[in-house]
Amino acid sequence: MNQTTTLERPRAGAAASLEVSHALTQTLYREARRLDDEDYAGWVAMLADDLHYHMPGIETRYRRDTTDQVTDLTRMAYYNDSLDEIKKRLTRLETGTAWSEDPATRYTHIITNVEVENTDKADEFRVFSNFYAYRNRNERDEDSLIGNRIDIWRETGGAYQLVRRRIILKHNIMLSKNLNIYL
């Protein structure tokens, strides 16, 4: 193919140290566990104040089409949120009237293919990962959401905080009635 797709990810950079890679891989797993457990206070504590959390809607287009479907923030997106906006969404769960969360949805986030790289900033690291998020609720409602993520994590006081996340879901038509989940 002489044309690449516009969904290409940044070229790989220099791998981070074993120690940082290990710490960040564990951080991703911890984040996934908190999301599985609906420990949203614990999850928000892992998010930086200047967070940008972005999951663009991806149309099916021909390879020759150069429309920027990933980084153009004016286009339709499932999420295009700051930390305050994420917190605003989460307050829905505290109202006691989020009917479609009671009975609770059962979640499992599986995080794989983790690669950790250095960036231009000494305290920030680029982290590639894949996710498989499985949801099941009520009798037999079930969804599988699968895709890639590219994150920037920042080291602050011995822990890491998520600064940027771009999520590329592999669905064209999201095969689910809603998206009551963070990826």
């Binding site: 089409d65 307050t91 009917w99 095969l175 689910s176 009635k177 009551n180």
Partner: protein, 455 residues
């Protein structure tokens, strides 16, 4: 077009009594009724296929569905729009697999039959295999729809050769539509891209929810409203000064307080923008419509488009069998809006009425369960209650349509199912009665309606 199934004796009136206010549950899951809907409604209605802003340049195209029929919508070099089946006349394969783009031609992957953007057959791979007389290229283009029309940016198409014009189809509903499509100089556009999701429910549940069901909002969406607005509950409904209006099966339910939907969007900058604009809107559309815009409101265009004026979600419910639809979601904004306001509206819509939106999340589960539970062999023979507000019809000097007082009402839903019944039973679309008799006859612009500025 020939539709052989229309010869059957229609008996759809037994599925409802709208004067009494009930529906038979079978219309929400029965496979035979669904097949008839595809023939009688989707193959004969004016269906929304695109917004003009999605196809700015010659060669721009998008793919969509009319009922379950796959179609391509393209902008022609002369600026017109053509709509034709996305199906090769040779073996029926799709000739376009992309959601949207720009092209000079569509070539079938199977045998290389090539069509220009007008849908005309231009050539085939290894054409020498066809002897003289084997194929008439002129007769083997992509099958065009019967008619294409547009109203203030919205492009519609129909497979029906005969039947009402688009203007007659929309009728007096144009008076309401202009609040969405023409509230500011320059008209509207859709934000780039489209979010699609699948809901395992009958398509009519989505349409009827938006056409008139203000009633569900304060209960279903209590959590959504509070999350967007610092814990504040739904604004109270004024049953005296809010209405249902139904025209030819389309419907708009609305308050007149001017701010409810803008409040629900949870974006103060957008609220400020419209507040500044409101006097201009009054000059443009009259005081009444400037007071309606931004109020708690929702609307649907028969048969399968819905939107929230003020919140700016714009969507289509595409049928995929009796118990499933695909929901296509866009954001509609005024072209003249500054970029930062467009950005605020887009974020606001996706935080409220995207699949991950705080309102949207609680809708799908209701519709799915309404659909699956109604299918039980005993359950399906129980009637559903559609009688709310059945005695509240009024005549209103300013508001066109069949008007009922009080926004908590099943009136527009009854109007929608009346039109559903009209179309299911009509052999001649031209003989369907207007519901109600139009006021806008002979008036090209709803601004020109006499008495518009009286209130």
């Amino acid at each position: 077009m020939r539709m052989e199934r229309l010869g059957r004796e229609p008996e759809f009136s037994r599925y409802m009594d709208l004067k009494e206010g009930w529906l038979d549950r079978r219309i929400f899951s029965d496979a035979d009724i669904y097949e008839e809907e595809l023939y009688r409604i989707f193959a004969r209605s004016w269906l929304f296929v695109a917004h003009e802003s999605q196809l700015p340049r010659a060669g721009d195209f998008l793919t969509t569905h009319m009922g379950e029929d796959a179609v391509i919508v393209t902008r022609q070099p002369d600026g017109s729009i053509k709509v034709y089946l996305n199906s090769c006349p040779h073996r029926g394969n799709k000739v376009c697999f992309a959601d949207a783009g720009n092209t000079r031609r569509f070539v079938c992957n199977y045998h290389g039959w090539a069509f220009n953007t007008a849908g005309e057959l231009q050539g085939m791979h290894e054409e020498y295999c066809y002897d003289e007389g084997d194929i008439d290229r002129k007769k083997n283009g992509l099958r065009q729809v019967a008619r294409v029309g547009s109203y203030k940016g919205l492009v519609f198409a129909t497979f029906a050769e005969d039947g009402p014009s688009l203007d007659a189809w929309l009728g007096d509903f144009r008076w309401y539509l202009d609040m969405l499509l023409d509230n500011e100089e320059g008209g509207t556009e859709l934000i780039g891209g489209c979010i699609k999701s699948v809901i395992s429910a009958n398509w009519k549940f989505g349409v009827e929810n938006f056409i008139g069901d203000a009633y569900h909002a304060g209960w279903t969406h209590d959590s959504g409203c509070r999350s967007m607005n610092n814990g504040q509950p739904f604004p109270p409904i004024d049953m005296e000064n809010s209405y249902h209006a139904s025209v030819n099966g389309h419907g708009w339910e609305f308050g007149t307080e001017g701010v409810g939907d803008l409040f629900l969007l949870g974006r103060p900058k957008v609220m400020e923008y419209y507040e500044k604009m409101r006097p201009k809107m009054a000059d443009r559309l009259g005081t009444m419509r400037s007071q309606i815009f931004g109020s708690v409101a929702s609307a649907s265009i028969f048969p399968n488009v819905s939107f929230l004026p003020g919140i700016s979600t714009f969507r289509q419910w595409q049928p995929k069998g009796p118990m499933q639809f695909e929901l296509k979601t866009w954001v509609i904004v005024n072209k003249a809006m500054p970029d930062d306001i467009k950005d605020e509206v887009t974020k606001g819509v996706m935080q409220t009425f995207g699949p991950g939106g705080t309102f949207e999340m609680d809708d799908g589960e209701n519709w799915e369960n309404c659909t699956t539970v109604n299918r039980g062999v005993v359950t399906r023979h129980e009637r559903l209650h559609y009688r709310c507000g059945i005695g509240r019809q009024i005549d209103h000097d300013t508001l066109p349509g069949i008007v009922y007082r009080g926004q908590y009402n099943d009136a527009n839903q009854r109007g929608f199912y009346q039109r559903w019944l009209d179309m299911m039973e009509a052999t001649d679309l031209g003989a369907m009665p207007p519901r109600p008799e139009p006021r806008l006859t002979g008036i090209a612009e709803t601004r020109d309606l006499p008495g518009l500025f009286a209130l």
